[in-house]
Amino acid sequence: MEQNQIDKKTILIVEDDVFMASLLERKFRQKDFEILRAENVDEARKIIQSSQINLILLDIILPGTDGITFLKELKSNTQTQNIPVIITSNLGQQEEVERGMTEGASGYIVKAHATPGEIVSKVEEILGK
């Protein structure tokens, strides 16, 4: 059981829409992921300092600091730059996607175009699970 806990990958979901975050969490837990949730960047920073995170799902429009600013911060910090970040946003214009990818995101998912199952698959692909 303890070994299972160690093998579990931990995903941090940074999403201010609690309902969507809960639907995502439910799907990830079914696939045996450990889930941590933050509704804004301040909460996300605290979680990252105290936990080992394998991947971050990051919304762009968040209260306070926006997701792109946080992504830059993560990628410029040696402690966090290797954590893969997938942007999950409903901003889906090409320039927005390109901006996210340029700043170092490992993927960009327009939430309206995907299901939680597809997001889990993308995470599994990136983590090589």
Binding site: D17, F19, M20, L23, L24, R26, K27, Q30, I61, S89, N90, L91, G92, Q93, Q94, E95, E96, V110, K111, A112, H113, T115, P116, G117
Partner: protein, 340 residues
């Protein structure tokens, strides 16, 4: 003798004197004539001079008057020109201000569209994910009625998301802000992805689906934007499925023809009424029979499709008979592609 000699000398002197007086008289008379003549000539020249002076003065006066009139006219013209210039400068400033305002409004419109799309998509995403969770039996199995309701709800939500995407895409196309990223590649994977996306709905309607897709090496690569071309094929296939009755037929084919890669989507659907084919690619156009079969739809899909095909330097044509079906033919040139 001596007396006679003296008398003769006197006579000679007198004669000589008389001759001299005569010559002098003649000379005086002649000089007088010359003077008179000179006076006449002088008088004549003076008269001519006077006439010339009068004429010159008169012309000068006229010229001065004309010059004054011209100067006045020129002054008026300069004044008018100044007035027009001032008006032009004013208009120019007004236009510059209006342009700035338009640029601001344009930026605001783009931001608004982007934010509105985000705000509309977010709640729809929540509903979509909730229905998906139910269909994935995350809260336990659904009975047939429950499943049907949730599936219909999911379809409605998906339509709404598509509508938002269409509006967003059209807004971007019209603003010239739809970014194209052309790359020389095969159309076949793009077609296969579009076909896979439509297969489920086609199967549900029991539509016989055939596709003639050659091996990648048999079809030349073309300069395309994968995402945009995927949008084109998805739209055409979606229409074919939407307007083909249950149990109908759709044939999809890719071929090479005279320097072109040709895609044909032929359906056995409701077709397009005679006289409405020309409007098919117009914004917000929906054929009369289409509205009666499928109430949802914006009439934006094919408008956007044509814009995208145009940007690829390609062509899209329609061949249709009402009640018998429609063929949409897209051709993309092998060599040319319009790069942004």
């Amino acid at each position: 003798m001596e007396q006679t000699k003296n008398n003769s000398l006197k006579e000679i002197y007198i004669w000589l004197l008389q001759v001299l007086i005569f010559i002098a008289t003649i000379a005086l008379v002649f000089l007088n004539y010359i003077s008179v003549l000179a006076a006449i000539v002088f008088f004549f020249i003076s008269a001519v001079n006077s006439i010339i002076l009068v004429i010159l003065f008169s012309n000068f006066k006229k010229g001065r008057e004309m010059f004054s009139a011209e100067t006045e006219q020129k002054s008026r013209k300069i004044e008018e020109f100044d007035k027009i210039t001032r008006q032009l400068v004013k208009r120019d400033l007004e236009l510059a201000r209006a342009n700035q305002k338009l640029a601001e409004l344009d930026a605001a419109k783009s931001d608004f569209i982007s934010v509105a799309a985000h705000q509309l998509r977010t709640p729809l995403t929540g509903i979509k994910w909730a229905y998906t969770a139910l269909l994935d039996k995350e809260t336990g199995p659904l009975n047939d009625d429950q499943k049907e309701i949730v599936e219909k709800g999911l379809a409605s939500i998906t339509n709404s998301i598509d509508l938002i995407n269409d509006l967003l895409n059209v807004a971007h196309v019209e603003e010239g802000k739809m970014d194209f990223s052309f790359k020389k590649q095969s159309l076949i994977p793009v077609a296969e992805k579009a076909l896979a996306g439509i297969k489920l709905v086609a199967d549900e309607k029991k539509i016989a689906f055939s596709s003639r897709i050659p091996a990648e090496k048999e079809i030349p690569e073309v300069n395309i934007d994968t995402e945009k071309m995927g949008l084109v094929l998805a739209n055409i296939l979606d229409n074919a499925v939407k307007y083909t009755p249950n149990g109908g037929r759709i044939d999809f084919a890719i071929s090479q023809e005279q320097g072109l890669v040709k895609i044909v989507v032929q359906d056995s659907g409701i077709g397009i009424p005679k006289g409405q084919k020309d409007q098919l690619f117009s914004k917000f156009f929906r054929a009369k029979n289409a509205v009666s079969v499928q109430t949802s739809g914006t009439g934006l899909g094919l408008y956007m499709v044509k814009k995208i095909v145009d940007r690829h330097g390609g062509k899209i044509v329609v061949d249709s008979v009402e009640g018998r079906g429609t063929a949409i033919i897209v051709t993309i040139p092998e060599q040319t592609a319009r790069k942004k």
